[in-house]
Protein backbone atom coordinates (compact mmCIF):
# COMPACT_ATOMS: atom_id res chain seq x y z
CA UNK A 1 0.00 0.00 0.00
CA UNK A 2 0.81 3.67 0.16
CA UNK A 3 3.17 4.24 -2.68
CA UNK A 4 1.70 7.64 -3.40
CA UNK A 5 4.11 9.60 -1.24
CA UNK A 6 7.06 8.47 -3.35
CA UNK A 7 5.37 8.68 -6.71
CA UNK A 8 4.46 5.03 -7.06
CA UNK A 9 0.98 3.66 -7.65
CA UNK A 10 -1.04 3.47 -4.47
CA UNK A 11 -0.96 -0.31 -4.31
CA UNK A 12 2.81 -0.65 -4.69
CA UNK A 13 4.23 -3.16 -2.22
CA UNK A 14 6.10 -1.96 0.84
CA UNK A 15 9.35 -3.28 -0.58
CA UNK A 16 8.92 -1.19 -3.67
CA UNK A 17 8.29 1.81 -1.43
CA UNK A 18 11.39 1.08 0.66
CA UNK A 19 13.51 0.60 -2.43
CA UNK A 20 12.24 3.87 -3.84
CA UNK A 21 13.06 5.68 -0.59
CA UNK A 22 16.55 4.24 -0.57
CA UNK A 23 17.07 5.27 -4.16
CA UNK A 24 15.90 8.77 -3.36
CA UNK A 25 18.30 9.21 -0.45
CA UNK A 26 21.10 7.94 -2.66
CA UNK A 27 20.25 10.49 -5.29
CA UNK A 28 20.25 13.29 -2.73
CA UNK A 29 23.64 12.25 -1.39
CA UNK A 30 25.01 11.98 -4.89
CA UNK A 31 23.77 15.47 -5.72
CA UNK A 32 25.73 16.79 -2.75
CA UNK A 33 28.81 14.71 -3.53
CA UNK A 34 28.93 15.60 -7.20
CA UNK A 35 29.26 19.29 -6.37
CA UNK A 36 32.76 18.53 -5.19
CA UNK A 37 35.09 18.53 -8.22
CA UNK A 38 38.03 17.03 -6.39
CA UNK A 39 35.87 14.22 -5.08
CA UNK A 40 34.66 13.47 -8.59
CA UNK A 41 38.25 13.44 -9.83
CA UNK A 42 39.13 10.95 -7.10
CA UNK A 43 36.17 8.80 -8.01
CA UNK A 44 37.23 8.90 -11.68
CA UNK A 45 40.76 7.74 -10.86
CA UNK A 46 39.42 4.96 -8.66
CA UNK A 47 37.14 3.86 -11.50
CA UNK A 48 40.11 3.85 -13.87
CA UNK A 49 42.10 1.54 -11.60
CA UNK A 50 38.99 -0.55 -11.19
CA UNK A 51 38.79 -0.96 -14.95
CA UNK A 52 42.47 -1.92 -15.08
CA UNK A 53 41.92 -4.58 -12.45
CA UNK A 54 38.92 -5.96 -14.32
CA UNK A 55 40.63 -5.85 -17.70
CA UNK A 56 43.67 -7.88 -16.65
CA UNK A 57 42.15 -11.38 -16.62
CA UNK A 58 40.40 -10.60 -19.90
CA UNK A 59 43.65 -9.54 -21.56
CA UNK A 60 45.48 -12.63 -20.26
CA UNK A 61 42.74 -14.80 -21.69
CA UNK A 62 42.66 -13.10 -25.07
CA UNK A 63 45.66 -11.14 -26.36
CA UNK A 64 48.38 -11.65 -23.76
CA UNK A 65 50.17 -14.99 -23.87
CA UNK A 66 50.44 -16.06 -20.22
CA UNK A 67 53.90 -17.52 -20.86
CA UNK A 68 55.15 -14.02 -21.54
CA UNK A 69 52.71 -11.77 -19.76
CA UNK A 70 51.96 -13.61 -16.53
CA UNK A 71 52.73 -11.04 -13.82
CA UNK A 72 54.65 -13.51 -11.67
CA UNK A 73 56.04 -16.34 -13.81
CA UNK A 74 56.01 -14.81 -17.28
CA UNK A 75 59.24 -14.10 -19.19
CA UNK A 76 59.75 -11.87 -22.18
CA UNK A 77 61.86 -14.07 -24.50
CA UNK A 78 62.10 -11.48 -27.25
CA UNK A 79 63.95 -8.90 -25.19
CA UNK A 80 67.67 -9.43 -25.05
CA UNK A 81 68.40 -7.34 -22.02
CA UNK A 82 66.27 -7.27 -18.89
CA UNK A 83 64.93 -4.92 -17.67
CA UNK A 84 63.85 -3.69 -21.09
CA UNK A 85 62.53 -0.15 -21.60
CA UNK A 86 58.99 0.45 -22.83
CA UNK A 87 58.28 -0.81 -26.32
CA UNK A 88 55.26 -1.63 -28.47
CA UNK A 89 55.11 -5.13 -27.02
CA UNK A 90 55.70 -4.08 -23.45
CA UNK A 91 54.11 -0.69 -23.03
CA UNK A 92 55.76 -0.09 -19.68
CA UNK A 93 58.83 -2.23 -20.28
CA UNK A 94 59.89 -5.29 -18.30
CA UNK A 95 61.30 -5.77 -14.84
CA UNK A 96 64.73 -7.22 -13.95
CA UNK A 97 63.21 -10.71 -14.13
CA UNK A 98 61.85 -10.14 -17.63
CA UNK A 99 58.20 -9.76 -16.62
CA UNK A 100 55.80 -7.28 -18.21
CA UNK A 101 55.37 -4.24 -15.95
CA UNK A 102 51.94 -3.20 -17.26
CA UNK A 103 50.62 -6.69 -16.60
CA UNK A 104 52.02 -6.57 -13.07
CA UNK A 105 50.52 -3.16 -12.51
CA UNK A 106 47.05 -4.21 -13.65
CA UNK A 107 47.18 -7.51 -11.84
CA UNK A 108 48.19 -5.81 -8.60
CA UNK A 109 45.39 -3.26 -8.81
CA UNK A 110 42.89 -5.99 -8.00
CA UNK A 111 44.87 -7.08 -4.95
CA UNK A 112 45.15 -3.49 -3.75
CA UNK A 113 41.39 -3.04 -4.04
CA UNK A 114 40.74 -6.28 -2.22
CA UNK A 115 43.18 -5.31 0.51
CA UNK A 116 41.86 -1.78 0.88
CA UNK A 117 38.19 -2.69 0.89
CA UNK A 118 38.63 -5.59 3.26
CA UNK A 119 40.63 -3.49 5.70
CA UNK A 120 37.98 -0.78 5.41
CA UNK A 121 35.17 -3.23 6.08
CA UNK A 122 36.91 -4.58 9.17
CA UNK A 123 37.52 -1.01 10.31
CA UNK A 124 33.87 -0.10 10.04
CA UNK A 125 32.67 -3.24 11.78
CA UNK A 126 35.14 -2.93 14.62
CA UNK A 127 34.99 0.86 14.92
CA UNK A 128 31.20 1.06 14.89
CA UNK A 129 30.74 -1.81 17.31
CA UNK A 130 33.31 -0.51 19.80
CA UNK A 131 32.23 3.12 19.47
CA UNK A 132 28.52 2.39 19.82
CA UNK A 133 28.89 0.00 22.75
CA UNK A 134 31.34 2.27 24.52
CA UNK A 135 29.14 5.35 24.18
CA UNK A 136 25.88 3.62 24.95
CA UNK A 137 26.88 1.68 28.03
CA UNK A 138 29.51 4.08 29.36
CA UNK A 139 31.06 3.33 32.74
CA UNK A 140 33.58 0.54 33.10
CA UNK A 141 33.06 -0.92 29.63
CA UNK A 142 33.67 2.49 28.12
CA UNK A 143 36.76 3.17 30.22
CA UNK A 144 38.25 -0.20 29.34
CA UNK A 145 37.60 0.01 25.61
CA UNK A 146 38.78 3.61 25.34
CA UNK A 147 42.05 2.97 27.17
CA UNK A 148 42.71 0.11 24.76
CA UNK A 149 41.90 2.43 21.87
CA UNK A 150 44.30 5.02 23.27
CA UNK A 151 47.07 2.44 23.40
CA UNK A 152 46.44 1.42 19.82
CA UNK A 153 46.42 5.04 18.65
CA UNK A 154 49.67 5.75 20.47
CA UNK A 155 51.53 2.92 18.77
CA UNK A 156 53.24 3.92 15.52
CA UNK A 157 51.30 1.92 12.95
CA UNK A 158 53.98 1.23 10.39
CA UNK A 159 56.61 0.10 12.89
CA UNK A 160 54.03 -2.08 14.57
CA UNK A 161 53.12 -3.64 11.23
CA UNK A 162 56.80 -4.26 10.46
CA UNK A 163 57.22 -6.05 13.77
CA UNK A 164 54.08 -8.11 13.14
CA UNK A 165 55.24 -8.82 9.59
CA UNK A 166 58.55 -10.14 10.87
CA UNK A 167 57.02 -12.19 13.69
CA UNK A 168 54.14 -13.65 11.71
CA UNK A 169 53.62 -14.77 8.19
CA UNK A 170 51.39 -11.95 6.93
CA UNK A 171 49.65 -12.31 3.62
CA UNK A 172 47.18 -9.94 1.94
CA UNK A 173 44.21 -11.16 3.99
CA UNK A 174 45.81 -11.19 7.40
CA UNK A 175 47.34 -7.81 6.63
CA UNK A 176 43.88 -6.44 5.77
CA UNK A 177 42.46 -7.74 9.02
CA UNK A 178 45.35 -6.41 11.11
CA UNK A 179 45.15 -2.97 9.51
CA UNK A 180 41.37 -3.00 9.87
CA UNK A 181 41.61 -3.79 13.56
CA UNK A 182 44.33 -1.23 14.23
CA UNK A 183 42.42 1.51 12.47
CA UNK A 184 39.00 0.37 13.65
CA UNK A 185 39.88 -0.11 17.29
CA UNK A 186 42.03 3.02 17.33
CA UNK A 187 41.15 6.39 15.89
CA UNK A 188 37.92 5.31 14.19
CA UNK A 189 36.45 3.89 17.39
CA UNK A 190 37.25 7.10 19.26
CA UNK A 191 35.67 9.32 16.62
CA UNK A 192 32.62 7.10 16.23
CA UNK A 193 32.22 7.03 19.97
CA UNK A 194 32.08 10.79 20.24
CA UNK A 195 29.45 10.84 17.52
CA UNK A 196 27.52 8.10 19.30
CA UNK A 197 27.65 10.11 22.51
CA UNK A 198 25.89 12.99 20.82
CA UNK A 199 23.27 10.58 19.44
CA UNK A 200 22.75 8.91 22.78
CA UNK A 201 21.20 12.00 24.36
CA UNK A 202 18.76 12.62 21.50
CA UNK A 203 15.15 12.57 22.61
CA UNK A 204 14.33 9.90 20.05
CA UNK A 205 16.49 7.50 22.03
CA UNK A 206 14.43 8.29 25.13
CA UNK A 207 11.27 7.96 23.07
CA UNK A 208 12.40 4.48 22.03
CA UNK A 209 13.09 3.56 25.65
CA UNK A 210 9.68 4.75 26.78
CA UNK A 211 8.14 2.64 24.03
CA UNK A 212 9.91 -0.37 25.53
CA UNK A 213 12.89 -0.67 23.16
CA UNK A 214 15.69 -2.94 24.38
CA UNK A 215 19.34 -1.88 24.39
CA UNK A 216 19.84 -4.03 21.33
CA UNK A 217 16.95 -2.38 19.52
CA UNK A 218 18.19 1.11 20.33
CA UNK A 219 21.78 0.41 19.33
CA UNK A 220 20.89 -1.39 16.11
CA UNK A 221 17.96 0.75 14.99
CA UNK A 222 18.76 4.21 16.26
CA UNK A 223 22.46 4.52 16.92
CA UNK A 224 24.27 2.40 14.35
CA UNK A 225 22.36 3.65 11.27
CA UNK A 226 23.14 7.21 12.29
CA UNK A 227 26.81 6.30 12.69
CA UNK A 228 27.16 4.58 9.34
CA UNK A 229 27.75 7.70 7.22
CA UNK A 230 30.65 8.68 9.42
CA UNK A 231 31.94 5.12 9.49
CA UNK A 232 31.75 5.04 5.70
CA UNK A 233 33.86 8.16 5.60
CA UNK A 234 36.56 6.58 7.71
CA UNK A 235 36.46 3.54 5.46
CA UNK A 236 37.90 5.73 2.72
CA UNK A 237 40.79 6.86 4.88
CA UNK A 238 41.47 3.27 5.92
CA UNK A 239 41.76 2.24 2.29
CA UNK A 240 44.46 4.85 1.87
CA UNK A 241 46.27 3.66 4.98
CA UNK A 242 46.04 0.01 3.92
CA UNK A 243 47.44 0.51 0.43
CA UNK A 244 50.23 2.68 1.75
CA UNK A 245 51.15 0.22 4.52
CA UNK A 246 51.20 -2.64 2.06
CA UNK A 247 53.66 -0.74 -0.13
CA UNK A 248 55.95 -0.03 2.80
CA UNK A 249 55.89 -3.59 4.12
CA UNK A 250 56.39 -5.09 0.69
CA UNK A 251 59.25 -2.73 0.06
CA UNK A 252 60.95 -4.24 3.09
CA UNK A 253 60.03 -7.66 1.78
CA UNK A 254 58.26 -8.82 4.89
CA UNK A 255 54.91 -9.72 3.40
CA UNK A 256 54.09 -13.10 2.01
CA UNK A 257 52.65 -11.78 -1.26
CA UNK A 258 53.62 -12.83 -4.76
CA UNK A 259 52.80 -9.62 -6.58
CA UNK A 260 51.75 -6.11 -5.63
CA UNK A 261 52.77 -2.54 -6.30
CA UNK A 262 55.00 -2.69 -3.26
CA UNK A 263 56.59 -5.92 -4.52
CA UNK A 264 57.29 -4.29 -7.87
CA UNK A 265 59.31 -1.56 -6.19
CA UNK A 266 60.92 -4.14 -3.92
CA UNK A 267 62.03 -6.17 -6.95
CA UNK A 268 63.65 -3.16 -8.58
CA UNK A 269 65.34 -2.18 -5.35
CA UNK A 270 66.59 -5.71 -4.66
CA UNK A 271 68.26 -5.85 -8.04
CA UNK A 272 69.91 -2.51 -7.35
CA UNK A 273 68.09 -0.49 -9.98
CA UNK A 274 66.78 2.22 -7.71
CA UNK A 275 70.31 3.54 -7.40
CA UNK A 276 70.57 4.15 -11.11
CA UNK A 277 68.73 7.47 -10.99
CA UNK A 278 66.08 8.03 -13.62
CA UNK A 279 67.65 5.69 -16.15
CA UNK A 280 65.40 2.82 -15.14
CA UNK A 281 62.38 5.01 -14.42
CA UNK A 282 59.88 2.42 -15.68
CA UNK A 283 60.79 0.13 -12.82
CA UNK A 284 59.76 2.62 -10.16
CA UNK A 285 57.37 5.13 -11.67
CA UNK A 286 54.34 2.98 -12.64
CA UNK A 287 53.97 1.39 -9.22
CA UNK A 288 54.94 4.55 -7.36
CA UNK A 289 52.51 6.73 -9.26
CA UNK A 290 49.76 4.15 -8.89
CA UNK A 291 50.21 3.98 -5.13
CA UNK A 292 50.16 7.75 -4.86
CA UNK A 293 47.19 8.16 -7.17
CA UNK A 294 44.98 5.47 -5.63
CA UNK A 295 45.82 6.47 -2.06
CA UNK A 296 45.19 10.10 -2.93
CA UNK A 297 41.93 9.33 -4.69
CA UNK A 298 40.43 7.48 -1.76
CA UNK A 299 41.52 10.33 0.45
CA UNK A 300 39.88 12.89 -1.84
CA UNK A 301 36.67 10.88 -2.01
CA UNK A 302 36.78 10.69 1.77
CA UNK A 303 37.07 14.46 2.05
CA UNK A 304 34.20 14.97 -0.37
CA UNK A 305 32.07 12.49 1.57
CA UNK A 306 32.94 14.41 4.69
CA UNK A 307 30.99 17.32 3.27
CA UNK A 308 28.00 15.10 2.53
CA UNK A 309 28.03 13.50 5.97
CA UNK A 310 28.96 16.56 7.96
CA UNK A 311 26.52 19.36 7.10
CA UNK A 312 28.60 21.98 8.88
CA UNK A 313 31.34 21.59 6.28
CA UNK A 314 29.01 22.18 3.36
CA UNK A 315 29.68 25.23 1.32
CA UNK A 316 26.59 27.27 0.79
Amino acid sequence: MTGEAVGLPLRASRWQVRARLLWRSWRESWALFSHNRVGLLGLGIIALFGLMALAHPVLIRTVWDPLIYDPVVGYSFDEVLQPAPPSARHLLGTDPLGRDILSQLMHSARAEFALGLMAALVTVLVGTAIGAVSAYYGGLIDALLMRMADIIVMMPTVSLLIVLGVLFDLNMYSLAIVIGIISGFGGTAIIIKSQALSLKVKPYIEAARVAGGSHRHIILVHIVPNLLPLAFLYMMFTVTAAIFSEAVLSFFGILNIRMSWGIMIHTAQNAGYLLGGTRYWWLLMPAGVSITLLCGSFYLVGRALDEVVNPRLRRR
Binding site: M1, T2, E4, A5, V6, L10, R14, V17, L21, K202, P203, Y204, E206, A207, A208, R209, V210, A211, G212, G213, S214, H217, V221, H222, P225, N226
Partner: protein, 331 residues
Protein backbone atom coordinates in the same frame (compact mmCIF):
# COMPACT_ATOMS: atom_id res chain seq x y z
CA UNK B 1 -8.72 15.14 46.83
CA UNK B 2 -12.02 16.56 45.76
CA UNK B 3 -14.31 15.05 43.17
CA UNK B 4 -14.86 11.43 42.29
CA UNK B 5 -12.92 9.23 39.93
CA UNK B 6 -10.51 6.38 40.50
CA UNK B 7 -6.88 7.07 41.19
CA UNK B 8 -4.46 6.03 38.45
CA UNK B 9 -1.04 7.07 39.71
CA UNK B 10 0.09 7.79 43.22
CA UNK B 11 3.59 9.21 43.61
CA UNK B 12 5.04 9.34 47.10
CA UNK B 13 8.14 11.15 48.24
CA UNK B 14 9.86 11.15 44.84
CA UNK B 15 13.41 12.43 45.01
CA UNK B 16 16.01 12.73 42.30
CA UNK B 17 19.47 14.15 42.90
CA UNK B 18 22.01 14.64 40.13
CA UNK B 19 25.63 14.54 41.30
CA UNK B 20 27.48 17.49 39.78
CA UNK B 21 30.92 17.36 41.31
CA UNK B 22 33.01 14.63 42.77
CA UNK B 23 35.98 14.47 45.08
CA UNK B 24 39.26 12.72 44.46
CA UNK B 25 37.71 9.32 45.05
CA UNK B 26 34.83 9.94 42.62
CA UNK B 27 32.43 10.29 45.56
CA UNK B 28 29.85 12.91 44.63
CA UNK B 29 30.18 15.99 46.81
CA UNK B 30 27.38 18.21 45.57
CA UNK B 31 24.03 17.50 44.05
CA UNK B 32 21.38 19.27 42.06
CA UNK B 33 18.21 18.56 44.00
CA UNK B 34 16.18 18.37 40.82
CA UNK B 35 13.14 16.81 42.48
CA UNK B 36 12.85 16.45 46.22
CA UNK B 37 10.18 14.67 48.24
CA UNK B 38 7.33 15.23 45.79
CA UNK B 39 4.00 13.47 46.27
CA UNK B 40 0.86 13.72 44.19
CA UNK B 41 -1.79 11.64 42.55
CA UNK B 42 -3.46 11.63 39.19
CA UNK B 43 -6.97 10.32 38.66
CA UNK B 44 -8.19 8.40 35.64
CA UNK B 45 -8.93 10.67 32.73
CA UNK B 46 -7.74 13.87 34.39
CA UNK B 47 -4.91 16.25 33.59
CA UNK B 48 -2.50 17.34 36.26
CA UNK B 49 -0.60 20.43 35.16
CA UNK B 50 2.98 21.00 36.28
CA UNK B 51 4.07 24.62 36.10
CA UNK B 52 7.17 26.42 37.25
CA UNK B 53 10.15 28.32 35.93
CA UNK B 54 12.92 26.82 33.88
CA UNK B 55 15.11 24.38 35.76
CA UNK B 56 12.71 23.74 38.64
CA UNK B 57 12.58 20.01 37.86
CA UNK B 58 9.43 19.58 35.77
CA UNK B 59 11.03 17.44 33.10
CA UNK B 60 12.87 15.39 35.68
CA UNK B 61 9.62 14.65 37.50
CA UNK B 62 7.94 13.66 34.23
CA UNK B 63 10.78 11.33 33.36
CA UNK B 64 10.67 9.74 36.79
CA UNK B 65 7.02 8.97 36.23
CA UNK B 66 7.64 7.05 32.99
CA UNK B 67 10.80 5.41 34.32
CA UNK B 68 13.24 7.19 32.07
CA UNK B 69 14.99 8.07 35.32
CA UNK B 70 15.26 6.07 38.52
CA UNK B 71 14.38 8.03 41.67
CA UNK B 72 16.83 8.09 44.58
CA UNK B 73 13.90 7.47 46.86
CA UNK B 74 10.12 7.39 46.75
CA UNK B 75 7.43 5.23 45.25
CA UNK B 76 5.15 5.34 42.24
CA UNK B 77 2.04 3.21 42.47
CA UNK B 78 0.52 2.42 39.12
CA UNK B 79 -1.64 -0.44 37.88
CA UNK B 80 0.30 -2.89 35.72
CA UNK B 81 -2.07 -5.47 34.23
CA UNK B 82 -4.82 -4.27 36.55
CA UNK B 83 -3.03 -4.65 39.88
CA UNK B 84 -1.34 -1.69 41.55
CA UNK B 85 2.43 -2.09 41.64
CA UNK B 86 5.32 0.01 42.85
CA UNK B 87 6.84 0.97 39.52
CA UNK B 88 10.13 1.99 41.12
CA UNK B 89 10.95 -1.58 42.08
CA UNK B 90 9.23 -3.20 39.12
CA UNK B 91 11.19 -6.24 37.96
CA UNK B 92 12.49 -6.20 34.40
CA UNK B 93 10.00 -8.71 33.05
CA UNK B 94 7.06 -6.47 33.98
CA UNK B 95 8.71 -3.31 32.74
CA UNK B 96 7.61 -3.89 29.15
CA UNK B 97 3.98 -4.09 30.24
CA UNK B 98 4.34 -0.92 32.28
CA UNK B 99 5.73 0.78 29.17
CA UNK B 100 2.52 -0.04 27.31
CA UNK B 101 0.59 1.90 29.91
CA UNK B 102 2.76 4.96 30.41
CA UNK B 103 3.98 7.02 27.49
CA UNK B 104 5.66 10.38 26.98
CA UNK B 105 5.46 13.21 24.45
CA UNK B 106 8.61 15.25 24.21
CA UNK B 107 9.12 18.96 23.95
CA UNK B 108 11.05 19.19 20.71
CA UNK B 109 9.28 17.60 17.75
CA UNK B 110 12.43 18.03 15.66
CA UNK B 111 14.59 15.96 17.97
CA UNK B 112 12.15 13.34 19.19
CA UNK B 113 12.06 11.52 15.87
CA UNK B 114 14.93 9.69 14.28
CA UNK B 115 15.61 11.63 11.05
CA UNK B 116 16.43 8.41 9.20
CA UNK B 117 13.16 6.68 9.96
CA UNK B 118 9.90 7.19 8.16
CA UNK B 119 6.74 8.35 9.89
CA UNK B 120 5.47 4.78 9.70
CA UNK B 121 8.60 3.48 11.43
CA UNK B 122 8.32 6.11 14.13
CA UNK B 123 4.65 5.59 14.91
CA UNK B 124 4.84 1.80 14.67
CA UNK B 125 7.94 1.51 16.86
CA UNK B 126 6.05 0.85 20.13
CA UNK B 127 4.15 -2.00 18.47
CA UNK B 128 7.37 -3.37 16.98
CA UNK B 129 9.40 -3.38 20.19
CA UNK B 130 6.46 -4.82 22.11
CA UNK B 131 5.95 -7.47 19.45
CA UNK B 132 2.33 -6.52 18.86
CA UNK B 133 0.52 -7.27 15.61
CA UNK B 134 1.64 -8.48 12.21
CA UNK B 135 3.15 -6.10 9.69
CA UNK B 136 -0.22 -5.72 8.04
CA UNK B 137 -1.97 -5.00 11.33
CA UNK B 138 0.66 -2.48 12.29
CA UNK B 139 0.27 -0.69 9.01
CA UNK B 140 -3.47 -0.55 9.45
CA UNK B 141 -3.19 0.68 13.01
CA UNK B 142 -0.61 3.36 12.15
CA UNK B 143 -2.82 4.65 9.34
CA UNK B 144 -5.76 4.71 11.76
CA UNK B 145 -3.80 6.66 14.34
CA UNK B 146 -2.52 9.18 11.80
CA UNK B 147 -6.06 9.80 10.61
CA UNK B 148 -7.13 10.19 14.22
CA UNK B 149 -4.58 12.92 14.94
CA UNK B 150 -5.41 14.72 11.72
CA UNK B 151 -2.33 13.84 9.69
CA UNK B 152 -4.31 12.78 6.69
CA UNK B 153 -4.67 11.24 4.29
CA UNK B 154 -2.31 8.82 6.08
CA UNK B 155 -1.22 7.15 2.83
CA UNK B 156 0.45 10.38 1.87
CA UNK B 157 2.50 10.61 5.04
CA UNK B 158 3.34 7.03 6.06
CA UNK B 159 6.57 6.92 4.12
CA UNK B 160 7.65 10.49 4.53
CA UNK B 161 10.57 11.52 6.69
CA UNK B 162 10.16 13.80 9.70
CA UNK B 163 11.92 16.70 7.96
CA UNK B 164 9.21 16.71 5.32
CA UNK B 165 6.56 17.57 7.93
CA UNK B 166 5.80 20.84 9.70
CA UNK B 167 6.35 21.23 13.43
CA UNK B 168 2.64 20.95 14.14
CA UNK B 169 2.33 17.81 12.02
CA UNK B 170 5.31 16.26 13.75
CA UNK B 171 3.85 16.89 17.16
CA UNK B 172 0.61 15.30 15.98
CA UNK B 173 2.63 12.31 14.82
CA UNK B 174 4.25 12.22 18.27
CA UNK B 175 0.78 12.14 19.81
CA UNK B 176 -0.23 9.30 17.49
CA UNK B 177 2.85 7.36 18.48
CA UNK B 178 2.31 7.88 22.18
CA UNK B 179 -1.27 6.65 21.96
CA UNK B 180 -0.81 3.69 19.64
CA UNK B 181 -0.62 1.20 22.53
CA UNK B 182 -3.68 2.65 24.33
CA UNK B 183 -1.80 3.92 27.37
CA UNK B 184 -3.61 5.10 30.48
CA UNK B 185 -1.01 7.76 31.33
CA UNK B 186 0.80 10.18 29.05
CA UNK B 187 3.44 12.59 30.29
CA UNK B 188 3.45 15.58 27.95
CA UNK B 189 6.57 17.71 28.40
CA UNK B 190 5.71 21.15 27.07
CA UNK B 191 4.37 19.60 23.86
CA UNK B 192 3.41 22.91 22.29
CA UNK B 193 6.12 25.25 23.52
CA UNK B 194 8.28 24.84 20.40
CA UNK B 195 5.39 25.19 17.98
CA UNK B 196 4.16 28.21 16.08
CA UNK B 197 1.50 30.02 18.03
CA UNK B 198 -0.91 29.44 15.17
CA UNK B 199 -0.81 25.66 15.48
CA UNK B 200 -0.56 25.39 19.26
CA UNK B 201 -4.23 25.45 20.04
CA UNK B 202 -4.89 22.81 17.37
CA UNK B 203 -2.53 20.37 19.06
CA UNK B 204 -3.95 21.17 22.51
CA UNK B 205 -7.52 20.66 21.29
CA UNK B 206 -6.50 17.36 19.76
CA UNK B 207 -4.98 16.20 23.03
CA UNK B 208 -8.16 17.10 24.94
CA UNK B 209 -10.34 15.32 22.39
CA UNK B 210 -8.28 12.15 22.56
CA UNK B 211 -8.27 12.31 26.34
CA UNK B 212 -12.08 12.35 26.36
CA UNK B 213 -12.26 9.55 23.88
CA UNK B 214 -9.78 7.14 25.44
CA UNK B 215 -9.98 8.21 29.10
CA UNK B 216 -6.29 9.04 29.29
CA UNK B 217 -4.60 10.81 32.20
CA UNK B 218 -2.04 13.48 31.40
CA UNK B 219 0.78 14.93 33.38
CA UNK B 220 1.00 18.14 31.41
CA UNK B 221 4.22 20.10 31.87
CA UNK B 222 4.16 23.75 30.88
CA UNK B 223 5.48 27.07 32.03
CA UNK B 224 2.56 28.91 30.48
CA UNK B 225 -0.28 29.54 32.93
CA UNK B 226 -2.79 30.22 30.16
CA UNK B 227 -2.01 26.82 28.68
CA UNK B 228 -2.35 25.22 32.11
CA UNK B 229 -5.74 26.89 32.60
CA UNK B 230 -6.92 25.53 29.25
CA UNK B 231 -5.57 22.00 29.57
CA UNK B 232 -5.61 21.03 33.23
CA UNK B 233 -8.08 19.89 35.86
CA UNK B 234 -5.58 20.41 38.63
CA UNK B 235 -2.30 22.27 38.74
CA UNK B 236 0.85 21.72 40.76
CA UNK B 237 3.34 24.57 41.03
CA UNK B 238 6.98 23.61 41.36
CA UNK B 239 9.81 25.66 42.69
CA UNK B 240 13.39 24.43 43.01
CA UNK B 241 12.50 20.75 43.01
CA UNK B 242 9.56 21.12 45.38
CA UNK B 243 5.83 21.27 44.79
CA UNK B 244 4.85 24.45 46.63
CA UNK B 245 1.16 24.59 45.78
CA UNK B 246 -1.40 22.21 44.29
CA UNK B 247 -5.15 22.63 43.77
CA UNK B 248 -8.00 22.51 41.27
CA UNK B 249 -7.04 24.70 38.32
CA UNK B 250 -9.71 27.36 38.86
CA UNK B 251 -9.07 27.46 42.58
CA UNK B 252 -5.31 27.77 42.17
CA UNK B 253 -5.47 30.43 39.49
CA UNK B 254 -8.30 32.32 41.18
CA UNK B 255 -7.03 32.14 44.76
CA UNK B 256 -3.32 31.53 44.74
CA UNK B 257 -2.02 31.16 48.29
CA UNK B 258 1.71 30.59 48.00
CA UNK B 259 3.74 33.77 47.48
CA UNK B 260 5.56 32.17 44.56
CA UNK B 261 2.35 31.25 42.77
CA UNK B 262 1.05 34.75 43.33
CA UNK B 263 4.20 36.21 41.84
CA UNK B 264 3.87 33.90 38.83
CA UNK B 265 0.28 34.97 38.31
CA UNK B 266 0.99 38.66 38.61
CA UNK B 267 3.72 38.26 36.00
CA UNK B 268 1.34 36.56 33.58
CA UNK B 269 -0.97 38.67 31.42
CA UNK B 270 -4.49 38.60 32.80
CA UNK B 271 -7.22 37.29 30.52
CA UNK B 272 -9.83 39.37 32.35
CA UNK B 273 -9.09 43.08 31.79
CA UNK B 274 -11.69 44.22 34.36
CA UNK B 275 -9.85 42.59 37.22
CA UNK B 276 -6.91 44.40 38.75
CA UNK B 277 -4.71 41.93 40.54
CA UNK B 278 -2.68 43.29 43.41
CA UNK B 279 0.96 43.25 42.34
CA UNK B 280 3.24 40.90 44.23
CA UNK B 281 6.87 41.77 44.45
CA UNK B 282 9.51 39.09 44.55
CA UNK B 283 13.20 39.69 44.67
CA UNK B 284 15.21 38.75 41.65
CA UNK B 285 17.79 36.02 41.45
CA UNK B 286 17.11 32.35 40.98
CA UNK B 287 17.89 29.95 43.77
CA UNK B 288 19.69 27.05 42.16
CA UNK B 289 18.81 23.76 43.78
CA UNK B 290 22.47 22.82 44.36
CA UNK B 291 22.92 21.58 47.92
CA UNK B 292 20.09 23.86 49.10
CA UNK B 293 20.30 25.02 52.73
CA UNK B 294 17.85 23.62 55.25
CA UNK B 295 15.15 26.25 55.11
CA UNK B 296 12.25 27.24 52.89
CA UNK B 297 13.46 27.02 49.29
CA UNK B 298 11.75 30.27 48.45
CA UNK B 299 13.22 32.14 51.42
CA UNK B 300 15.71 34.27 49.47
CA UNK B 301 13.04 35.67 47.17
CA UNK B 302 9.99 35.65 49.39
CA UNK B 303 8.35 38.98 50.26
CA UNK B 304 6.63 37.36 53.26
CA UNK B 305 9.68 35.62 54.68
CA UNK B 306 9.90 35.54 58.45
CA UNK B 307 12.25 34.05 61.00
CA UNK B 308 10.40 30.74 61.16
CA UNK B 309 11.02 30.23 57.44
CA UNK B 310 14.76 30.31 57.96
CA UNK B 311 14.91 28.32 61.15
CA UNK B 312 12.86 25.36 60.05
CA UNK B 313 13.31 23.06 57.07
CA UNK B 314 11.27 23.53 53.91
CA UNK B 315 7.56 23.66 54.88
CA UNK B 316 5.47 20.52 54.25
CA UNK B 317 2.72 20.52 51.62
CA UNK B 318 -0.49 20.82 53.66
CA UNK B 319 -4.17 20.89 52.84
CA UNK B 320 -5.42 24.39 53.64
CA UNK B 321 -9.02 23.36 53.02
CA UNK B 322 -10.87 22.14 49.94
CA UNK B 323 -7.94 20.09 48.69
CA UNK B 324 -5.88 23.23 48.24
CA UNK B 325 -2.36 22.21 49.16
CA UNK B 326 0.26 24.79 50.05
CA UNK B 327 3.80 24.52 51.38
CA UNK B 328 4.25 27.71 53.38
CA UNK B 329 4.49 28.52 57.10
CA UNK B 330 2.74 31.82 56.72
CA UNK B 331 -0.42 30.88 54.86
Amino acid sequence: MSGGGDILVRAEGLTKLFPISRNLFLRPTSFVHAVEDVSFLIKKGETLGLVGESGCGKTTLGKLLVKLLEPDSGHIYFPVDGEPRDVVTLPGRDLLRFRRQAQMIFQDPYESMNPRRTIYDTVAEPMVVQGIGSIREREKRVAEMLALVGVSPPQLYLFRYPHELSGGQRQRVAVARSLILNPSLVVADEPTSMLDVSVRSGVMKLMLELQQRFNISYLYVTHDLAVARYMCNRIAVMYCGKVVEMAEAEELLGHPLHPYTRALLSAAPDPDPGYVRPPVEIKGGVTTPVNPPKRCRFYDRCPMAAQVCEEKDHPPLEDKGGAHYVACYRV
